[in-house]
């Protein structure tokens, strides 16, 4: 491939990135607008961030969102890791294809359908819709993302490490916890971060599965925007963008770093042989 920058390449990159990020950049800029009118620039100000912190409904929604994200990301990480282990370890069991398909289907399932089906389930088992149902729903849809991330790491994991631990007198479960888990930890943490950010910005599934007193931040923002965009909302969104970006970037750096380190160690070992 030719690595040089041609005019065509530059134009397409600029157009692409403008298309992706112009709306977000605008939102961030207007969050610092002194004017109450969203589309008129009235000078730089951070007053809307102050307003935001005094808006109790927003803060309550933020607290709900963070609690949901924390609990569901943790639960999804446990379940997703277990699913990944089962899928990589037991290469041939009856219904493996069905199982792996079912684990990964939610990745492509329209959120409306996931939300609706969960809602139907909660109604059917007569579970009141509260913050708990949102947590359950988020766990369900984010665990498959965790499974994908962890499985990609487990595929390259040398199984004899765990066998060596057992050979040295370690029972199987303890061998998994003391040897396998620390080695695949970067992927598990990356999976947790991914699940956390997914939960943080989910609107559709939360709308279907939450009840009174369990309004998440995206739901609150959405309902406020229907009454008109305020600079205060811009400020909230800017904070959210910062959080999500940090999460995603941190997760990918973690994964990348551990991969680079592993490759370097392997190369070094090869050179020294």
């Amino acid at each position: 491939m030719n690595g040089r920058w041609s005019g065509f390449n530059i134009v397409s990159v600029v157009v692409g990135f403008t298309f992706l990020y112009l709306p977000i950049v605008l939102l961030v800029i207007y969050s610092f607008n002194a004017s109450r009118l969203v589309t008129v620039w009235g000078g730089f100000s951070t007053q809307w961030y102050g307003e935001m912190l005094r808006n109790e409904a927003l803060l309550a929604a933020a607290s709900v969102t963070f609690r949901v994200a924390l609990v569901s990301a943790t639960a999804a990480t446990v379940l997703g890791t277990l699913a990944a282990v089962a899928l990589t370890r037991f290469m041939r069991f009856r219904g493996r294809l069905l199982f792996s398909g079912m684990v990964f289907a939610p990745l492509v399932m329209p959120e409306v359908i996931t939300g609706l089906s969960l809602l139907l389930l909660f109604i059917a088992i007569d579970l009141d819709r509260t913050i708990v149902t949102v947590m359950l729903a988020h766990t369900t849809f984010s665990m498959c993302f965790v499974a994908v991330v962890v499985q990609s790491r487990l595929v390259t994991f040398d199984r004899s490490l765990e066998e060596a631990a057992q050979d040295l007198g370690c029972p199987p479960l303890k061998a998994f916890l003391t040897v396998t888990l620390p080695v695949i930890a970067p992927a598990v943490i990356a999976g947790w971060m991914l699940a956390f950010t997914l939960s943080l910005d989910d609107l559709v599934i939360a709308s279907f599965t939450s009840g009174s007193g369990a309004t998440t931040l995206p739901m609150r923002i959405y309902s406020q925007v229907r009454l008109g965009v305020t600079p205060e909302i811009n400020a909230v969104c800017t904070v959210l963008i910062a959080l999500v970006t940090t999460g995603v970037v941190a997760a990918s750096i973690l994964n990348k770093r551990s991969m680079v380190r592993r490759e370097r160690a392997e190369r070094m070992a090869f050179d020294e042989r």
Partner: protein, 378 residues
Amino acid sequence: MKSLGNIRRSFSPWSDPDARPMIAIRNVTKRFGEFTAVDDLSVDIHAREFFALLGASGCGKSTLLRMLAGFEAPNSGTIVLDGVDLAGIPPHRRPLNMMFQSYALFPHMSVADNVAFGLKQEKMAKGAIAERVGQMLKLVKLDRFAGRKPHQLSGGQRQRVALARALAKQPKVLLLDEPLGALDKKLREETQFELTDLQYDLGLTFVVVTHDQEEAMTMADRIAVMDAGRICQVATPAEVYEAPNSKFVADFIGSINLFDGEVASSQANRTVIAGPDGSVVAEDPIERSPGTSLCFAVRPEKIAVSHEPPAEGTNGIAGEVWDLAYLGDMTIFHVKLASGTVIKASMVNAARSSREVFTYHDRVWLSFSPDAGVVLER
């Protein structure tokens, strides 16, 4: 019977019928689906023995080792270790340890923690663990590297860590899966002798799996040559080399020449085999019925090449020099016989200059004594 090879063995519990084996493997079969990896295999391994399972990949040697370690369960048959049937005992409760082919060092632990891992599982006292780890690292000459992580070590050093870790629990039996497979040739040769010294000094039983016949010959007290899930021959390296019991074993260990033919006469320790390139007289303890198809298997270094026919009482077969290779320490001849068979002969270059000089297409005589080889069935 004359003794084979030039090494006298003071250690040979396998020839004592009253000796109780350390490991008794009886009629063990292991199948993976349709594939039979280990097929009705029985063998005894004695205490303090260095036992090698030798075979090509897929012959079932690794499966047998994994069954000893407990990672695979036999479909039928029993494995008894020191009087205890191992069936149903999980790997972490078996009194033997394994050194893995990939070494399987824990990447997130230091060298010392790797070696201490097995001892910690035993709930040994901290001070005792530290002492034992120190001993083990000293034993493998890695005491200066205790704080390093595995990826900061060279391949040879990692191999030593793996060895120290497996030895730390002082197992009854140490299983080694291709222990030198990942090392380069020079390091491998050094390590072979270190391993045998270590095994002798510690008085341990070693079971090693290898596909490298030279490795098995150098290190082992006895070699089990395996093929298709079965053991073809269990014997000392000299016996396996000088008296292989089948064409497969003869061919697998070193190189061999086969003089095919039919029995012309057989009596009093002498079998005459008539083949397309003439008759061959072979020393043979078994009386054969005339007409049986047999072959006389002779190693290349047992065959001499000369321009003159050999004296009476020595087998002599005429041929033409087809290929020559001067290797310095020895010269290898490929001699084509009248029937088209190519025979390999190697002659040690003991002197710097030779009276007899050979070149391509020379008419030569191959000579070998009747006791230079073994008679094998075809």
